[in-house]
Amino acid sequence: MSEVKAENHEILEKVDPAPWREVPLVLNNRSFKWVTDKICGIVESKTPTWWWWCFITALCVASFTGMGLVYLVSTGVGVWGNNNPVNWGWAIVNFVFWIGIGHAGTLISAVLCLLKQKWRTSINRASEAMTVFAVLCAGIFPLFHVGRVWFAWWLFPLPNSNAIWPQFRSPLEWDVFAVSTYATVSVLFWYMGMIPDLAVLRDRAKETWRKYFYGFFAMGWRNANNHWRNFEMAYLLLAGLSTPLVLSVHTIVSFDFAVANLPGWHTTIFPPYFVAGAIFSGFGMVLTLLLPVRAVYGLHDLITQKHITNMCMITLATGSLVGYAYAMEFFIAWYGANSYEGFAFINRAFGNYWWSYWIMISCNVICPQLFWFKKIRQNIPLVWIISIFVNVGMWFERFVIANTTLSRDFLPSSWGYYSPTVVDIFTFFGTFGFFSVLFLLFLRFLPLMPMCEVKSVMPQADPHSDH
């Protein structure tokens, strides 16, 4: 390559290549100082009134989960709609729903980092926060689904009074490791990325509590190049570790189904199909959260149309993958010529839960196809509405998978129609409040964008040009 270059050196100098018009990642030629003031300003300014209204509303909604769980534990597991054979009911649906949402955060922070997608910088912090909070919401369901929640610690390999250890052949035990690792590593990655920004907040702090709070968590970070050197390496390594992690987590979640010998579940397509679905739902949630945040805080120069377009396109791509997986499941059910498998799929689409199947298809397969059109990608309110549909559709996907199969098991005498109880509904509804409470606290007290990373993709960061 270098030889060719050397030979054609004279020609190369004469050639005037067309300028590559790249849309800048930060609009309006903003300065470093503007970025610092903008992001820190959100945290340092007086608490806005809307924040209090949202926070109080979110707290009220979250109390539904609290009440639901107190009622469940004090009364007994019968208050949920689960029965035999629908032993899982809403608990697993909600668990997979929330855990899936988390995946987009890790994808943005880790996979897109490895792929050198610079546009990720302005959205990765908020998405990682979303991951952490979504995993917390997810954890509630299996924890209480074990029935006697005070024995939930038996899931962990800790010695108990019966001297029995967990059984490591069970996918549910793998889940314990996958989800707890995922939660821990997500927190580590999120926190480590935040250290330089916490140091900025520490150095700007006027009030004593801020000095101590940010100072403590900034760990004495000094912006020194030696620090950056190790930080960048650690960041890259954590991105490299999180990538196989995020793929494994939803794979293992899908094993909960795929390892069971039930028609509609026992398929090898589940791991990739679940991962695609998780990323799809996660991007839906990122759009749902960040579009209002962008509008409220006026972050249009940082979260630009380019960012929104890219997120829409990933939603479109993963939505199409999910649609392909639905079609392939049907094809294999027919091609495999297993009558039980065939019945499971006919029953999904046309059985007693037909409505949930068609909600899933319209929200997950048809709705994101609208993102093929530029006009729609640029219509922010419409993008937001579609992102809500994606969230709804992905909840129904899990509902369809879990309930159509379980409510029609091998023994027709046990067939029935599963419905959730009001306690199920309250508990799930409340998790949105719990999630919002955490997200609002995050917006209020932590830098919602990684300032150092946003600055790194600005033209001023280039040490070889005068800006």
């Binding site: 000094r222 570790l241 196989p244 800006h467």
Partner: protein, 185 residues
């Protein structure tokens, strides 16, 4: 530069720059001049500055690898100990232990321990947490997280000389050149 030398000790000479390019070019000159005990401060990791300062590759990966290996064998050990050694568990007449079936457990623990190794390795190599440091005494230190760049040459450097170093920093383009003093109680 007239300050009481009784209540504080001189820590370093510092110069600020307002662009990444300014810092990058100056750093090359400081290195060339032969200074060894100095550091650059910037709001962003400046691309190529490590090479310019003569830093070797970061050693964080060693901690990650150690963590990963520890995690993998911890996973193996707990499964073997719990399902074969301490309380053999018969499941479907299959072997008590095999490296295959509990693979997700080793896999997740490998990642978990490697992640802890990475974070704590980064802290260790950066000698953090350390909540006090003489460089914090610089009145504009906070701006190095905002939009200022800074070079600090420590007094401990064998080539350090009060006046010469200050002059040198001005010559390489330093905007606000001053001595950092560390107060002593």
């Amino acid at each position: 530069m007239i300050m009481s030398d009784i209540m504080d000790i001189k820590y370093a000479a510092s110069a600020t720059f307002s662009s990444a390019k300014g810092l990058y070019d100056a750093a090359g000159k400081v290195k060339q001049e032969g200074y060894t005990n100095w550091e650059c401060f910037s709001p962003i990791p400046v691309h190529g500055l490590d090479a310019q300062m003569g830093y070797a590759r970061s050693k964080v990966p060693r901690f990650t690898l150690t963590g990963g290996i520890t995690g993998f064998f911890t996973g193996m050990l707990i499964v073997w100990f719990m399902n074969e050694y301490d309380y053999p568990l018969i499941v479907g007449g299959k072997p008590y232990f095999s490296p295959i079936y509990p693979f997700p457990v080793f896999y997740e623990l490998t990642i978990l321990f490697a992640a802890f190794g990475t974070l704590f390795g980064m802290f260790f190599l950066n000698r953090l947490p350390r909540h006090n440091h003489p460089v914090f005494e610089h009145p504009d230190f906070g701006l190095t997280g905002d939009d200022k760049f800074m070079i600090v040459i420590e007094v401990d450097d064998p080539k350090f000389d009060d006046e010469e170093t200050v002059e040198f920093l001005k010559r390489v383009g330093g905007e606000s050149v001053q001595l950092i003093r560390e107060p002593i109680d």
